[in-house]
């Protein structure tokens, strides 16, 4: 079991993490707006996360922490 934690207020909603997740569980939350005015990325189904850290690897703003 793995876990991703997104620093939501640092996220710029670029969406890069959403394209690399093998489980397709990272998604921009279009319903939320963070303090910077972006739709932050969220893990929509943490149980599926395999902790591969692909999302964190590609995140330009280093807002993702991954635990396993």
């Amino acid at each position: 079991m793995a876990r991703v934690i997104v620093d939501e207020n640092r996220c710029k909603g670029c969406g890069l993490c959403t394209t690399v997740c093998p489980k397709e569980i990272m998604q921009l939350d279009k319903t939320a707006i963070n303090i910077k005015g972006y739709h932050p990325s969220r893990c929509i189904d943490m149980d599926k996360c395999i902790g591969c850290a692909f999302c964190a690897t590609i995140c330009p703003d280093v807002c993702i922490t991954v635990e396993k």
Binding site: G15, F54, A56, I58, P60, D61, V62, V66
Partner: protein, 250 residues
């Protein structure tokens, strides 16, 4: 649970000013992690360029210089000659390194300065609003090549890694890209090696990183990653161009 991935402490804990999806941020992380992993952060001195990375001095958790446009290799030389036991690196864009700073990078390389150069090739002048860079691809539209780069008028793009590899002085040159997880992992290895070389007093090491500029390319960050694959990598092939530890390659 163990932490598989977390922000390195060699990155200052502040938001960076880069546009959403700009891969400058990834490059920063790779540098910071390498310093961290090699345990040299406390004796590192970085040199920020003039370009979008101008504020890099606020992001790396080590001593920093902000250099004049293009002159980072000269500034790094000055630092390294004073502090030969410190780890000195420059972080430069393609306008900075491949245009105005051509003489400085060529001669730092020729001298085999024992420094590490991180070269961000995004085929454009990001900071100033998307003008043509020496690395802009043929027919690429920029604000100073509004009809597309016309090679018959301003030449073909400069291939820095290829050019510098011909110099006896260069120790290690690799080109990597920041557009896929796999490429980023390779990029990380290259960056770390470029620092490792310096620790071992091997000499001039440069890593060219193909990077995106979604803002000035007029694309979404995701489209930009693909543009690197489709357009940049074919013209700028990835790989090790020089490794005096291994003999010359490519």
């Amino acid at each position: 649970m163990a932490t598989v991935f977390k922000r390195t402490e060699m990155l200052v804990d502040v938001p960076q000013h880069y546009c959403p999806g700009c891969t400058h941020g990834i490059a920063h992380r790779l540098v910071a992690e390498s310093l961290d992993e090699l345990g040299v952060g406390g004796r590192s001195v970085g040199v920020a360029p003039v370009g979008c990375a101008v504020f890099a001095y606020n992001y790396f958790n080590c001593d920093m210089h902000e250099a004049a446009h293009g002159r980072a290799p000269a500034v790094a030389t000055g630092i390294k000659r004073v502090l030969p036991d410190n780890i000195v690196f420059t972080y430069q864009g393609d306008g900075d390194l491949a245009s105005i700073g051509t003489a400085e990078i060529v001669h730092a390389a020729a001298r085999n300065e024992n420094i590490t150069v991180i070269f961000i090739n995004n085929a454009i002048y990001g900071m100033t609003g998307g003008q043509m860079a020496p690395t802009t691809l043929p027919n690429q539209v920029t604000t100073t090549s509004p009809y597309g780069r016309d090679a018959s008028h301003c030449g073909m793009p400069l291939k820095i890694s290829e050019m510098l590899s011909t110099l006896d002085g260069t120790y290690y040159i690799e080109r990597a890209a920041l557009n896929t997880v796999k490429n980023i992992k390779n990029a990380k290895k290259a960056v770390k090696k470029a620092f490792q070389n310096q620790v071992e007093n091997k000499g001039f090491s440069l890593v060219e990183l193909l990077s995106t500029c979604p803002t000035n390319w007029g694309m979404t960050p995701i489209e930009a990653l693909k543009w690197v694959d489709d357009n940049m990598i074919p013209y700028y092939p990835l790989g090790v161009y020089k490794d005096r530890g291994e003999g010359e390659l490519k």
